[in-house]
């Protein structure tokens, strides 16, 4: 690890100035991803700016429009919040499926959303891949068992590693960002970007931007929502495929639906065409198996990751059966 200067600002403005100022500055939340990248030499921060003392980034607030969760709220706080458990179950399920108890005790929601990919070519300094500014993606023609089957676009085939991202996309969440000394709110599906937009990052944050909080609208609550995560081992593992699904029904008609897939693409994969086949339809008319089989028609198998298609389809079918029946 190279050395760095450490700051503990208490205001968003001060933090933002440090992040966009002289030197390579990184925001330090829980640190569970950042420190791994530092120890493995993938990044070399010159400044570390701790977010622990910044006002406005903590707390879980319920109000008339839904819930706002500060980006510094830990995954353990989310997983053990009884209100979240009863009203937004899939978020609690995602939180508790992440990493390990020790990590969840310090890892934050913001850190989980902004964490860098786990592609082993990206994480290993011996490979100067596209994402790091090099000129090739080593997963193509390489060991690509854990790489994307969608959205790679002949470019970069990482999968987005965040489970909370998958759930929040399905729940139609919004993110609040501190940018140019103002608060900006946007749908979370616009927060994440694929390699065709900018291969060197996974979200729209620019130097100086800070993710402040996440909002989930109350329209996404009150129905059923699930998060199903396929892993190779039952703890300490990232999703090899996952599905987050939310649905609300009235008199047998589907009035609200949100579906996203994780572990299959460089961003949480919003299944918009699948949603269109469900919303406004009568539940009894839905052929879950057929819809699931079509949902990933654009999938492109790299050679070793074909099983992800099978898993994504299977878990989509099971998730839909859980939220629609």
């Amino acid at each position: 690890m190279k050395t760095f200067t450490f700051y503990k600002p208490t205001e968003l403005e001060g933090a933002s100035k440090l992040l966009s100022g002289v030197g390579r500055g990184y925001l330090l939340a829980g640190g569970t991803d950042l420190m791994t990248e530092m120890k493995q030499g993938v990044i070399e921060p010159e400044l570390l700016i701790s977010a622990s003392d910044i006002k406005d980034m903590s707390g879980i607030v319920w109000n008339d429009s839904g819930i706002t969760i500060g980006s510094m709220v830990t995954l353990d706080e989310i997983a053990s919040d009884t209100n979240i458990e009863s009203r937004i179950k899939s978020l609690a399920e995602a939180a508790i499926s992440i990493a390990t108890p020790q990590i969840r005790n310090i890892a934050t929601l913001g850190g989980n959303l902004c964490q860098r990919p786990r592609c082993w070519y990206y994480r290993n300094v011996r490979f100067n891949c596209l994402k790091k500014g090099g000129d090739k993606c080593f997963a193509i023609g390489g060991s690509n068992k854990y790489n994307a089957i969608l959205g790679g676009g002949d470019s970069c085939y990482i999968v987005h590693p965040s489970d909370s991202a998958t759930v929040l996309v399905a729940l139609k969440a919004k993110v609040d960002i501190f940018r140019n000394f103002q608060r900006v709110t946007m749908p979370i599906r616009d927060f994440f970007i694929g390699p065709e937009v900018d291969v060197t990052r996974e979200n729209i944050l620019e130097p100086g931007d800070i993710l402040i909080s996440v909002q989930i609208p109350k329209e996404s609550m009150g129905g059923k929502n699930v998060f199903l995560k396929a892993k190779e081992r039952q703890s300490m593992d990232f999703a090899i495929a996952s599905i987050a699904a939310m649905a609300k029904m009235e008199n047998g008609l589907i009035t609200e639906v949100g579906i996203a897939a994780g572990g299959v693409a460089p961003t949480p994969w919003h299944l918009t065409s699948t949603e269109r086949k469900l919303i406004g339809y009568c539940v009894d008319d839905i052929n879950v198996q057929a819809i699931s089989a079509e949902a990933f028609a654009d999938a492109k198998i790299l050679g070793q990751n074909g099983y992800k298609l099978q898993l994504a389809q299977t878990y989509l079918e099971r998730a839909l059966n859980l939220v629609l029946r």
């Binding site: 023609g141 396929a230 300490m236 878990y315």
Partner: protein, 753 residues
């Protein structure tokens, strides 16, 4: 002379593991926990190339750093060797991660910064990441002798396997692969070296301090009498620690700088520069008559040793033991070949080649049973090797100790309760309900599978022990072996205490320092309990005699008749007593030294067992759950039941990694190991731990100390084929390639859809 009625014996009871208290208090010291004043820290520059010649190294920019004290390169370490094919440092590098240079600096940050400044110029060579590529003609030699070790396979045979196949009504043949997974011991290896003039003291995790001392003496060209090796508590090794360059490099740096040097490997380095299991490709063929009799077995295994040979010869031999000896058969042949590749080195890992060999053999056995329409359990009951051994003629001379891994027939086993294991285990899993649990519809399928195994039973190299009665009235047993966490200290202590006739609480075990312990072989090949146990028993017997004689003098008797040892001291039939403390004070130090060459001239000493598993597989996700696991073991007398159970449960759980999760992933285009981390080399967590029932067969071995045979490695042999056979029963699909990750299971199952 030992009053057995005085107190119940310790052997057969679950005496508390002797070093556990320090471990739960957090005060047990492992190598990296140790520090010396003025200590320097070392870090290693590792090769970025899988195969290259080093043309030059410029260390000057690094040496110029204030905190850097010394740098070793292949050009300044001399000609010493750590192993026949491993120079201390070499001008050729053979895998990504191979050691090139080592820096000693005031702290790890300085050392790392220095590493970055070292400039190396390479002649990059073509390389091979798999055995096929290595074996192709014209491929560059990784070592001067060629990529196929010894130019070809070892061949072991009994009878005539071609004739055996001619006699067969059915011949079944298949091929299997196993992964080169890593033991991933929780403690990364480390070494702390310190010189006092010409005298070296080395602290390192070790399963053989005397063997390590010999390696250091040879590599450094130093008189072994000037070397002390101390083995602190070891944080897991499972056979794989430590015959790497680590300690030699630390010793050299310390010698040259005049300061103590600590070299601690990182987790990534432990994966790269440690020792993993040999990956294998096995072709195996079995011939049977219609009535189910086995007429021939022929197995060919090719194993990948990576960049260096390590213990390859022992491993490749062990991979054939099942094929040659588990099924009663007059005609068998095994060919085992070792191939170099430019990948991390393979070495010893719990049960050596036996898991690989048995995965192939026991999977094939089920296929043969299937072909015959005979129940797999029944097929094994019909054909397992019995106590009388294999048919054939003994070739080992009568007065010679018999190899624990023979090929010849005509020799009985000292004990063989494999049949009991098969029957008890089958009963415990409920084998008779096997067909009822299958589920023809739905995506959850259930199945029950089994396999059995044979393994060398314990006799190892010559073993010495010293035992004494000390002035404080305690007994000290001095042994040169190392407890590698499996509990041998405790077990040997129990045996010594019982032999003497005292409580184990008053027996101290002294091990771990070459200065005050006698020569001993490594804790390896499941020989420890047997070899050290026999030495300890003999030492205790001899000391008992010496103690009785000394007591006789102290009491003032003319002979030793009627004297016996009690937990407190020595008593006579007429009521005289002298306690151990007084006896020691009055007689001075009472001691004895023994040397034992364990083994038998009449019998093969082998351990046996049978494993059974009930599993559930989701055929749409490839996820397998182990519902219940039963392990029945014949290891003779079980000295310490609780610790023995811990070994069995631990070994099975460990091999759930081999079976379902673990492999070393090497990038073919660069030779880089992609998953050198605990996150990505996925070892089983507590969430994977299955319900395991352990059964120990009623068995007392006439040769083993207190009737005991080996146990430590045996639980690792059967899990993989047991699961493979259960999967076949559940799904009708054969999985021949480990590990059974969801993607491998789904790929195999697509045959069904």
């Amino acid at each position: 002379m030992v009053d057995q009625n005085a107190h119940p014996p310790s052997v057969g009871t679950s005496f508390q593991r002797v070093d556990l208290r320090d471990k739960v208090l957090g005060i047990a010291k492992y190598t990296a926990d140790l520090s010396l004043p003025d200590m320097l820290h070392a870090r290693v520059l590792r090769s970025p190339h899988p195969h290259a010649n080093i043309l030059s190294i410029d260390v000057q920019p690094a040496l110029n750093m204030v905190g850097v004290h010394d740098i070793l390169t292949p050009f300044n370490v001399g000609e010493g060797k750590v192993a026949p094919d491993v120079p201390i440092l070499d001008t050729k590098v053979r895998f990504v991660g191979d050691e090139i240079a080592v820096v000693a600096a005031v702290n790890v940050y300085e050392a790392d910064a220095a590493i970055d400044l070292i400039k190396v110029s390479y002649e990059v060579l073509p390389f091979s990441t798999n055995m096929d590529t290595s074996m192709k003609k014209g491929n560059p030699k990784i070592h001067t002798q060629g990529n196929v070790v010894n130019g070809g396979p070892i061949v072991e045979a009994r009878g005539n396997v071609e004739e055996g196949f001619d006699q067969a009504d059915y011949i079944v043949e298949d091929s299997f692969t196993t992964p080169g997974h890593h033991p991933a011991s929780l403690e990364p290896r480390a070494a702390l070296a310190s010189w006092d003039g010409t005298r070296l003291t080395m602290w390192k995790p070790s399963r053989g301090i005397h063997a390590d001392k010999a390696i250091l003496a040879s590599a450094l060209d130093v008189n072994p009498n000037n070397i002390t090796v101390i083995g602190p508590v070891m944080g897991g090794g499972y056979g794989s620690k430590d015959e790497t360059r680590t300690s030699v490099l630390a010793a050299l740096l310390s010698m040259r700088t005049g300061r103590p040097v600590k070299l601690e490997l990182s987790r990534e380095e432990e994966f790269l520069a440690g020792r993993r299991r040999h990956s294998t490709f096995t072709k195996i063929k079995m011939g049977v008559k219609k009535d189910g009799t086995v007429t021939a077995v022929h197995a060919k295994t090719v194993m990948d040793t990576g960049a260096y040979l390590s213990s390859g010869p022992g491993v490749v031999r062990r991979a054939g033991q099942g094929a040659l000896y588990l099924y009663r058969c007059p005609n068998v042949k095994y060919e085992g070949q070792i191939v170099y590749t430019n990948t991390p080195t393979a070495g010893s890992y719990r049960a050596l080649g036996a898991p690989q060999g048995h995965f192939a053999l026991e999977s094939l056995s089920d296929q043969v049973a299937d072909k015959l329409s005979i129940d797999p359990l029944k097929f094994r009951l019909m054909n397992h090797v019995g106590p009388e051994g294999q048919p054939g003629e003994r070739t080992t001379p009568k007065n010679q100790i018999i190899d624990t891994q023979p090929v010849e027939g005509g020799i009985p086993f000292s004990s063989n309760e494999l049949r009991q294991c098969l029957i008890l285990g089958a009963d415990a899993i409920g084998w008779e309900r096997r067909d009822q649990i299958q589920t023809p519809t739905g995506f959850i399928k259930r199945g029950i599978g089994m396999s059995m195994f044979i393994y060398r039973g314990g006799p190892g190299g010559q073993s010495k022990a010293k035992m004494s009665l000390d002035e404080d009235g305690f007994f000290t047993l001095n042994v040169g072996f190392m407890d590698v966490g499996e509990g041998s200290s405790t077990v040997v202590l129990q045996m010594a205490a019982d032999t003497l006739g005292v409580l184990p609480q008053i027996v101290r075990l002294n091990s771990g320092n070459t200065d005050n312990t006698p020569q001993s072989p490594m804790t390896a090949g499941s020989t420890l309990t047997f070899s050290a146990g026999q030495a300890a028993v003999r030492a205790a017997n001899q000391l008992a005699q010496i103690v009785i004689e000394a007591a006789s003098e102290v009491i003032g008797l003319t002979d030793t008749e009627g004297l016996y040892i009690t937990p407190e001291g020595v008593c006579s039939a007429r009521g005289d007593e002298v306690n151990f403390t007084d006896l020691a004070k009055k007689s001075g130090l009472l001691k004895t030294t023994v040397s034992v060459t364990p083994g038998s001239r009449d019998y093969i000493v082998n351990s046996f067992g049978a494993h059974f598993a009930e599993i559930e597989v989701d055929i749409e996700t490839g996820y397998v759950k182990v519902i219940k696991y039963v392990a029945a073991h014949d290891s003779g007398t079980i000295i310490n039941p609780r610790m023995a159970e811990s070994q069995v449960r631990g070994g099975i759980s460990q091999m759930m990694g081999f079976t379902f999760l673990e492999d070393m992933e090497i990038d073919d285009l660069s030779g880089v190991t992609l998953n050198a981390s605990f996150l990505e080399h996925k070892s089983p967590t507590i969430m994977e731990y299955p319900e395991i029932e352990v059964i120990f067969a009623d068995s007392i071995d006439p040769v083993g100390p207190f009737g005991a045979k080996s146990l430590g490695e045996t639980p690792c042999i059967a899990p993989a084929p047991t699961i493979a056979n259960a999967l076949y029963h559940a799904t009708g699909v054969r999985l021949n390639h480990l590990p059974f990750t969801p993607d491998n299971v789904l790929t195999a199952l697509r045959k069904l859809r």
